[in-house]
Every structure is written in structure tokens, then in C-alpha cells.
């Protein structure tokens, strides 16, 4: 489902954030991406979601070689992916409901369908009662969960999460991870970047370790 071959990412300032990465994640699999701060976890996720382009190497996602995707096709490509950001990227001028509805609005869903799916997604992250709230009135953890709801509302084939539990207490973190496990159980391919070694090592999923932009070890096979 996700395949990286010899991928190097050098930022315009010359910094090499990723060096010769080889990685593959099968359809329906789930893995964790770990590593120190600055190791290149976010960069890797950005390459997979075409926010950045690799300097060298090849990336294949859902059967599509990202190199050959034209600018016009990028939006349609991104619709297959749900992305949860390190900083949740919520829009503060609209309600929680409207934030979560955005991917569906963009894809031209009808209003009743949008309402149904948004409520289902909010229900999954336990925020159904906050649908009319403004994002600024939510706690950081709640905002993070709104971001998760937005990432899954259109039932993407792939879910990418960058530190989704960074701001959550241990209990809530575990709940969120359980949520990802459940998405994975229904067939979604999931890749989660996280520092929280304690938590993720208890979940029985393979871990990919990055160190200074290099792949170090894999604790289990994906």
C-alpha cells in the first residue's frame, strides 16, 4: 500500500531530513514510526501525502507512483488519505461540525449524507456533544480529536497520523490508539508517528525507527 524505495529528502536549505529510506507497508497493515525529535518522521509523512516531493527515490502509494502524478491529480490522490497533523490545522472561524465536514464538502457530498457522516466521526472520537462548538473553546486534546474526526470522516484507505497523542493524557492517548487499531481492523492502512514508546510497544504493531533521517531497525515485520 505504501512503498518507499531509496527515498532521500533534502530541503531547499540543504538539510537532508531523510536519507535512502526503504520501507513498505502492506494494504490493511498498521505500523508506528518512532524517532527523536528532528529524526524526519513528519517529513516522511509529508512525502507520502505529497505535501513535499522527494529529492531522490520512488514512492508508491495505493498503486500510484507519486512521481507520475500531475498537479491536477494531487487533490484526488489526497482524498484517499486521511491526515492527522502534529498541529491540528483546524479552522477557527467555523464550528467543529464544519471543520469535520470539510473533506465531504470538497468532494461534493449532499447535506444529509454530510451530517450523518460527520456525526458518526465525531461520535467515534467522543465529541458528538461539541459539534456546534468553536475550535478555540476546546481543550488541546479535544482539538486533536476533532482533527482525527476530520481525517476519517471520508473513510480514507490510508490514515497518516503525526503525533496524534502528543497533547493527550495517558488514558486518552490509549483510547485514541485503540481508535486507530479499530480503523485498522476495518481495513484502513494506518501509519502513526509517535514518541510514546511505552504506549505503542504495548499495542503489538510493528515499529519503524528513524534516527537522523535513516531507518534504524524494525521490531517486527509489517
Amino acid at each position: 500500500m505504501i512503498l518507499l524505495r531509496n527515498v532521500t529528502k533534502r530541503y531547499p536549505n540543504g538539510h537532508e531530513a531523510l536519507s535512502r529510506i526503504n520501507l513498505s507497508l502492506d494494504r490493511g497493515a498498521m505500523a508506528f514510526l518512532t524517532g527523536h525529535s528532528g529524526a524526519g518522521k513528519s517529513t516522511l509523512l509529508k512525502l507520502i501525502s505529497l505535501i513535499e516531493r522527494p529529492s531522490r527515490g520512488q514512492i508508491v502509494v495505493n498503486g500510484q507512483n507519486l512521481e507520475s502524478l500531475s498537479g491536477r491529480q494531487v487533490p484526488y490522490f489526497r482524498r484517499q488519505i486521511g491526515i492527522i497533523f502534529q498541529d491540528h490545522h483546524l479552522l477557527h472561524d467555523r464550528s467543529v461540525f464544519d471543520n469535520v465536514a470539510l473533506p465531504l464538502v470538497i468532494q461534493g457530498y449532499r447535506q444529509p449524507e454530510i451530517a450523518r457522516r460527520v456525526r458518526a466521526a465525531l461520535d467515534k472520537v467522543g465529541l458528538l456533544h461539541k459539534e456546534n462548538a468553536e475550535p478555540v473553546t476546546l481543550s488541546t486534546g479535544e482539538q486533536q480529536r476533532v482533527g482525527i474526526a476530520r481525517a476519517v470522516v471520508h473513510k480514507p484507505a490510508i490514515l497518516l497520523a503525526d503525533e496524534p497523542t502528543g497533547n493527550l493524557d495517558p488514558h486518552l492517548s490509549r483510547e485514541i490508539m485503540q481508535l486507530f487499531l479499530r480503523f485498522n481492523q476495518v481495513g484502513t492502512t494506518v501509519l502513526v508517528a509517535s514518541h510514546d514508546l511505552n504506549l505503542i510497544s504495548s499495542l503489538g504493531k510493528p515499529m519503524v525507527h528513524l534516527n537522523e533521517g535513516r531507518l534504524q531497525r524494525r521490531e517486527a515485520e509489517a
Binding site: S68, R78, R79, I83, L102, I106, Q107, G108, Y109, R150
Partner: protein, 319 residues
């Protein structure tokens, strides 16, 4: 290649459906935005309206002048002064001959004595004339041209033909003012063109600037929308409608301003026309003119936002 496209692009009917829904949403959204920022919207609309009003008023005035000018040149007369050798008795025959010309409507003979009477009555030089003792005036024929339209060239042709007649000493057209009018109208026409181009450009810039600020204010929203798979067309759409509304709204306001101005002017103009014994009415924009102005406003608004949005959207990419 085929496989990839099939994977990335949704089926055609779904795209059409999404297209319709998206258009409707963008339209409602962009209207709502105008409504939510009434002061700045009103200000922008007013600027656009003023920029559209000026050339439109020029245009209307020009149209009116063009409509009345044939009447004016028809009322113009040519004074045909005859040679001293022409006797008063010859005058009626000569006048009849002139009146037979197709480009002459009326030819009125004026004898020396009649000319003197006329001169005495109107010039205020009566006493000066009396001291001369002898009548210095030549006989003349007043010719009213029969011209289809007030084009100066045929008038000049008639005057030249009259001048070439042996009995004529001089044919004078008191038409210089008509010629001036035509020159002024030509100047006005060019001025209107230049003004229209400049102010049209102004509307483009005003709309462009408004939309540019709007794009910048919504940078974050655009980034997020791109991240969750919004196409450029989707992102562009509300801005395009925004520009369209600005242009159309400004044009509507301009129609109102122009109409009011014409109403204000029509009283004095009618009074003026009666002074000259005419029956001209100040014409307004008319149905077609109104439609054209509205269409032009909408088009300028759309173009202004299109140019700006395309320019700025490229630089906004998710990070």
C-alpha cells in the same frame, strides 16, 4: 497510465453532481461573505459604481448628442449672397431653380430692401446705415438644405456647388458651430473610449485588490482545503463568485446613479430645447444599455478576481 487515472479520478456522473453542489455552495457562501462585511463591501461597491458611472454618463450624453445633431444641421441655413448685378426681379426665378436641387429643401429670396429692413431691425446699426444713405446690402437667397443626416461633407458639397454658380458672390454656411459640434463629439467619443478603458482597468484593479486581500485572509483555509483534497477549481470558485458579485453590484449601483443623474438633467435640458424651438428629450440608458452595463460590470469583476486568484493560489501550498 489508464489504471492510474481510473484510480485517482471519480466517475463522471459523480463529478458532475459534485460540481453542481459545489457551485451552489460557493455562490451562497460568497454572497454571505458580502453580507457579513457590509461596510467594506459597500465601500468597494461604491468605488466600482463610480468607476462605471463616469464612462457610462459620457456614453449617454454622446448618444443624445448624436440623436439631436441631424435636427440641428437641418435647421441650419446657407446664406447665398448674390452678385450686385442680379436684379430683384430675377430673384424668384433663381430661388425656384435652387429649390429644385435635391439637396435643397427651401430657397427663400430676400431682396435688397428686405435685407435692409431685417438688418435695421436686428443689428442695432440702424442709424449708422442711415448715414450711409445708399443700401450697401446685396440680394440674397436663404437656402435650407435637405440632408438625410447631418454629415458635414455633403453640406460642404452643397455650399461649394452654390459658390460655383455665376450669380453667386458668396455662399456662407452659418454652420461653423455644427462643425465644431461634430469635432467636439469626435473628441468626446475618443475621451469616452479612453475613459472607459482606464476606468475599466480601475475596476479590474479594485476587484483584484479586494479579492487578493480575501485570498490572503483565507490562506490557512486554502491550505487546509488543499490538504484534504480540494481541487484548484473548488478553491477558486467562491473567489470568482465574490468578484462577480462585486462587479454586478457595482454595475447595478451605477445604473441607479446614471438614471438619477439623467432625471436631474432632463428638466433643464427640456427647457433648453424649448428655447431653441426643438423637441429633444434626454434619452436614458435604455434596456439594452442597462443590460450591457450589468454584463460588463459582472465580466470585469469576474476577470479581476480570476487574474488575482490564479496568481495567488499557486503560491499557497500546504506545509
Amino acid at each position: 497510465m489508464k489504471r492510474r487515472r481510473a484510480l485517482t479520478l471519480p466517475p463522471v456522473h459523480a463529478r458532475f453532481q459534485a460540481y453542481g453542489i459545489n457551485h451552489l455552495r460557493a455562490l451562497v457562501f460568497s454572497l454571505g461573505k458580502l453580507y457579513r462585511a457590509p461596510f467594506s463591501s459597500a465601500l468597494t461597491l461604491l468605488v466600482i459604481a463610480v468607476a462605471l458611472t463616469l464612462p457610462t454618463l459620457f456614453h449617454v450624453v454622446l448618444n443624445n448628442l448624436q440623436q439631436v445633431s441631424p435636427q440641428w444641421s437641418q435647421t441650419a441655413q446657407i446664406s447665398v449672397f448674390l452678385q450686385d448685378s442680379v436684379a430683384d426681379e430675377q430673384l424668384p426665378a433663381l430661388a425656384t431653380r435652387l429649390a429644385q436641387r435635391p439637396d435643397v429643401a427651401v430657397a427663400l429670396p430676400v431682396t435688397r430692401a428686405e435685407a435692409l429692413e431685417e438688418f435695421r431691425a436686428h443689428s442695432g446699426f440702424a442709424e449708422a446705415l442711415d448715414t450711409l444713405g445708399e443700401n450697401p446690402l446685396p440680394p440674397l437667397i436663404l437656402v435650407t438644405p435637405a440632408l438625410e443626416h447631418g454629415s458635414t461633407t455633403t453640406l460642404e458639397g452643397l455650399v461649394n456647388a452654390l459658390n460655383n454658380m455665376p450669380e453667386v458672390s458668396r455662399a456662407l454656411m452659418d454652420l461653423q458651430w455644427v462643425q465644431r459640434l461634430f469635432s467636439i463629439m469626435e473628441m468626446l467619443q475618443r475621451a469616452t473610449l479612453v475613459l472607459s478603458l482606464l476606468l475599466g482597468l480601475g475596476v479590474l484593479l479594485v476587484v483584484g485588490n479586494t479579492i487578493r486581500l480575501d485570498v490572503q485572509n483565507r490562506r490557512e483555509e486554502i491550505e487546509v482545503a488543499k490538504l484534504v483534497g480540494a481541487t484548484d477549481a473548488f478553491i477558486r470558485r467562491p473567489f470568482l463568485y465574490g468578484g462577480l458579485w462585486l462587479g454586478l453590484g457595482g454595475a447595478m449601483l451605477a445604473v441607479v446613479i446614471v438614471t438619477i443623474t439623467i432625471l436631474l438633467l432632463s428638466g433643464p435640458v427640456q427647457a433648453l430645447s424649448q428655447l431653441y424651438g426643438g423637441e429633444w428629450r434626454l434619452g436614458g440608458l435604455g434596456f439594452q444599455g442597462t443590460l450591457a452595463l450589468l454584463g460588463l460590470g459582472a465580466l470585469l469583476g469576474l476577470a479581476g478576481s480570476w487574474i488575482t486568484v490564479n496568481q495567488h493560489l499557486r503560491h499557497i501550498e500546504p506545509r
